[in-house]
């Protein structure tokens, strides 16, 4: 798209915003319904686009993308009246007669940067928040998922208000151009490197930014004794590593922390689970997304090429360059200073790090940047408590993986290196709203002590008034207090 065309687009968005149309509850609801219609009527096209971009299985596509957005939009539809309502705030008596309230208002024109790994969810899930809050929106899908990007660009104008919601496709140039514009909010999902570029661009216009990044999400596995628990844990770890876009997810399991004595049990169990879920032969692996492109494929191959790392592979490790497939790969105790333990893996490699005591995992996690998620499989309540209070991360999930993403009541977002700002459910609405404080006063009952010239009586009066000492105030007025 040429840049002149785009600037016209943006002024159209500004017009839609200032017309006030997008503030109406009816408009917001109609857009949410349109998102639902879009998903219902285009399921197969979405399956196909995700299949082509990422080799994503339809079940995964439904579970992690279509289903998630439908749930978010349905939830927003059922709550939007409540969210939009002004909330009354309590006031001290002294303010009588007054009324205070907090009124959420749209921030204005917002820009949503989408990443390629969940190209439907990460576009439409924030969009649900942005339209719920009454904003006009530009979505910039990822050029690394071109089929899905084209699908969104083609389909969104058909279903949603095209004067208020635009899709702008393109690569780095277009992203750079977009960042030069004045936005009222930028919502970014992606890497910390690009996040810095976004944040630096945003400061020109003091634009608030939400950064949804990733990080190395650790999974603590306590020495579980019941065989059934173990089996379930292995399944959930596998699902959290390979089941969500083959490890290419910001909340995917990055590495495991386990006690020495328990590691072989866990490795064996994981091997068995992987074989059952995904098959054994590199050529006939199924139910796994592919690596998104050559660049990431090479990056991942490099991670396991280091001889010290390669020798730690206990399962998998084979790659198919032509089809961009990497086997689910398990590594036992790769060197901690190797690249694989320093950068976010974002792919199907799973290092297992052994510790003397499971409680050492706290220090291990705390000595690294704050991750987006911490997972822990344990039945030990004191360990649970310790993890919650002593480690810091966007979220903590016990005895499962990924699933916190699907809980509308929980805020989703990072801290430190894993980003800032949060969304999902009401938090999505809040992420795109300004909470305006409103205080209504009347002309009755004027406290003269508020006004100059400042005299001693006024000082005493206000001293009491500010402490809400109503009894003292009465005494002072009656001349009984000095």
């Amino acid at each position: 798209m040429d840049q002149v065309g785009m600037s016209i687009n943006l002024s159209e968005l500004r017009q839609s915003l200032s017309s006030g149309r997008t503030r109406d509850a009816a408009w917001r609801k109609s857009q949410l319904q349109a998102i639902l219609r879009l998903l219902n009527e285009n399921e197969d096209r979405i399956f196909q686009a995700l299949q082509r971009d990422l080799g994503k299985h339809p079940i995964e596509a439904y579970r992690d993308e279509i289903g998630i957005v439908k749930k978010a939009a349905t939830h927003a539809l059922s709550c939007i009246d409540k969210w939009m309502a002004t909330k009354n705030s309590q006031l001290p008596w002294l303010f009588f007669p007054s009324r205070a309230e907090v009124l959420p208002e749209p921030l204005g024109i917002v820009l949503i940067f989408v990443s390629w790994n969940f190209p439907i969810t990460l576009a439409l899930d924030p969009l649900v928040g942005a339209v719920s809050a009454g904003n006009t929106v530009v979505i910039k899908p990822s050029e690394l998922a071109p089929e899905t990007s084209a699908f969104l660009a083609r389909t969104i104008p058909v279903y949603l208000d095209r004067k208020a919601i635009k899709v702008v496709e393109g690569g780095v140039d277009i992203a750079g151009y977009l960042l030069q514009q004045k936005w009222d909010k930028i919502f970014f999902t992606g890497s910390a490197r690009v996040a810095r570029i976004v944040m630096a661009a945003a400061l020109n216009h003091l634009t608030p930014v939400t950064l949804e990044l990733g990080g190395k999400c650790p999974t603590i596995v306590d020495s579980l004794s019941a065989p059934l628990d173990l089996k379930v844990a292995a399944k959930r770890i596998a699902a959290g590593k390979w089941g969500a876009c083959n490890g290419q997810a910001c909340i995917a399991v990055d590495y495991i922390l386990v006690e020495h004595k328990f590691s072989s049990t866990l490795v064996e169990l994981l091997k068995k689970t992987v074989k059952r879920f995904y098959g054994e032969n590199l050529k006939s692996l199924k139910n796994l997304s592919k690596i998104v492109n050559k660049h990431h494929f090479n990056r991942l191959c490099n991670l396991i090429e280091d001889p010290a790392v390669a020798s730690s592979i206990v399962y998998g490790g084979k790659v198919d360059e032509e089809n961009l497939i990497i086997e689910p790969t398990i590594l036992l105790d790769p060197p901690l200073d190797a690249e694989i333990m320093l950068e976010e893996i974002f792919g199907p490699l799973l290092p297992i790090i052994t510790l003397d005591k499971i409680k050492d995992s706290i220090e291990f996690i705390n000595s690294r940047p704050k991750p987006l998620a911490v997972y822990a499989f344990t039945k030990d309540d004191s360990l649970k408590k310790q993890i919650v209070t002593e480690t810091s991360s966007g979220s903590v999930t016990f005895n499962d993986t990924i699933i916190q993403f699907a809980c509308d009541g929980l805020p989703f977002g990072g801290v430190g290196q894993s980003g800032f700002g949060r969304y999902h459910g009401k938090y999505s609405f809040d992420a795109f709203s300004h909470e305006k404080a409103v205080l209504h006063r009347s002309f009755h009952l004027e406290l003269e002590a508020r006004h100059p010239p400042w005299k001693d009586f006024k000082m005493k009066f206000l001293r009491l008034a500010y402490m809400y000492d109503y009894w003292g105030l009465i005494l002072l007025y009656m001349g009984l207090k000095r």
Binding site: I59, L91, G108, A195, A200, G243, V388, F420, R441
Partner: protein, 483 residues
């Protein structure tokens, strides 16, 4: 006593000490937070006179204002935090849905870690300690950088924070641009800055490197719309108290300009004049009830606004100046053009511009065509106009029929939007601003749905759809294989 030089090494060591204190975990405990809040309260309670003196020396702030706007507000804020802390710290239970059944979830407020608070010179006591209350209530370790433009208060804060607070966790670093730059090079977990948008951008730029979230408390031109159907006498008193009675206009929420109708403007200006005379006398330059202009930079800036050719014939009241004592009389400019200097920067001083329109409704367009202000005020008895104002005017906060008072309400978030800043604080909002809300989910090993896992089948897709759409009927059908 010689003052130590604050260099890069000192900045690094300060950070190192605060990190160590933070990782010791002591600042996370309820007991530590409460003891620090109590100690902070003591500073306000035991040293009233010295605080008043410092503010007088920095900015000739009238004792009354120092007491009411700085000391009292800190006491209230601190007492509220002490009273509510236990409730604020409690994890918030969250209901979960069918998709994640069986499970429980909660949101845990955890401290960010080490936070930096950079405060301003106009309310140097309040704007320093109010954020500190939030930061320690949330369990962080803190560096406070007070403004070098208000040196007496700055050194008072160093002295008493050093004396009363846990010095391994709460530190004051005094200094100007070089010291601030050194501090900004460190890795902070949160920064709260109060000041102007130019420096705000510098703070943001520094925050990029470590992806530090930033709260910016800025200002802007906060307008007052004055309708004609009002109790003029009360309105005028409230306008004057908000403008000149708050640090002589040097406040971020100070009314900056008035918009009123052409017909009503002379009456309003006249009434303002009369009331100003009653409040500050014939010789306002000599009044003890008005703060001075903070320094000669700001004095000259204001004089430039006043001497602009476009407005020099618009002064209907005041205009006197005393360069020796850095005083400018309360000044009203009537009918200023929109392209004048005074209408194109935040005034931040005792000048009040009045714009006139044909119909009061036009004021909304004027406000909306400009950067979003920190506050917007409206005086009217017209219900329709109030409603239109609330829904159409965007600002950090709105106040109807009064000025500046919303700042003192702890149940209202205080903060800007757009050019007036981002993020809010006060009351519980302060605690939230300095807390990371961590999502925590507990699952058990029971009720594991095999539908989540490969190998994937059509039946699993049907089940998944049913669960995610929350339809029990469909779930049964899927289980029975009917779908």
């Amino acid at each position: 006593m010689t003052k130590e030089i604050f260099d890069g090494e000192s900045a690094r060591l300060t950070m190192k000490e605060l990190r160590e204190t933070y990782s010791s975990g002591k600042t996370r405990t309820y007991e530590w937070r409460i003891s620090q809040l109590n100690n902070l309260l003591k500073i306000a309670e035991f040293h009233e006179k010295e605080i008043v003196e410092a503010l007088r020396s920095d900015i000739s702030k009238p004792e009354f204002e120092s007491f009411v706007h700085e000391i009292c507000l800190i006491k209230i804020s601190c007492k509220l935090a002490i009273k509510e802390l236990k409730r604020w710290m409690k994890p918030e239970k969250v209901s979960t849905t069918l998709v994640t059944f069986p499970s429980s979830a909660e949101i845990v407020a955890e401290p960010f870690g080490v936070v930096l608070i950079i405060s301003a010179w106009n309310y140097p006591f309040l704007l320093s300690l109010d954020p500190v209350i939030g930061a320690i209530a949330a369990g962080n370790t803190v560096v406070l950088k007070p403004s070098e433009v208000s040196p007496a208060t700055s050194s008072l804060l160093t002295k008493y924070i050093g004396e009363y607070m846990d010095s391994s966790a709460v530190k004051v670093i005094e200094g100007a641009i070089p010291e601030t730059s050194l501090l900004l090079e460190q890795k902070w977990d949160k920064i709260l800055y109060t000041g102007n948008s130019k420096v705000g951008r510098i703070v943001l730029a520094a925050a990029v490197k470590h992806l530090t979230p930033v709260v910016l408390e800025l200002g802007g031109k906060s307008p007052i719309i004055v309708d004609s159907d009002i109790d003029l006498k009360i309105a005028v008193k409230r306008i004057i108290s908000g403008k000149w009675g708050c640090n002589n206009g040097q406040a971020c929420i100070s009314p900056d300009y008035i918009i009123t109708t052409k017909d009503f403007a002379p009456k309003l200006a006249e009434s303002l004049k009369l009331q100003l005379l009653k409040f500050y006398g014939e010789e306002p330059l000599k009044s003890d009830d008005l703060s001075r202009i903070v320094n000669s930079n700001h004095f000259n800036r204001l004089i430039k606004l006043l001497d602009d050719d476009k407005v020099s014939d618009k002064i209907v009241h005041g205009g006197q100046r005393d360069i020796q004592n850095l005083k400018i009389a309360p000044t009203i400019l009537l009918d200023v053009p929109e392209d004048s200097l005074i209408m194109n920067e935040e005034i931040f001083g005792p000048l009040l511009a009045i714009l006139t329109v044909d119909h009061v409704e036009e004021s909304f367009n004027i406000i909306n065509s400009r950067p979003k202000p920190l506050a917007a005020y409206l005086f009217t008895n017209n219900k329709k106009l109030k409603e239109k104002f609330v829904s159409e005017v965007s600002a950090g906060g709105l106040l109807i029929n009064d000025t500046t008072l919303h700042l003192t309400v702890p149940t209202l978030p205080f903060g800007g939007v757009g050019e007036s800043g981002m993020g809010g604080y006060h009351g519980k909002f302060s605690f939230d601003t300095f807390s990371h809300k961590k999502a925590v989910m507990y699952r058990s090993y029971l009720g594991d749905a095999s539908e989540r896992y490969p190998p994937y089948t059509t039946r699993k897709l049907g089940f998944l759809k049913a669960v995610m759409n929350g339809s029990f009927l469909d779930i049964f059908r899927a289980i029975l294989g009917w779908s």
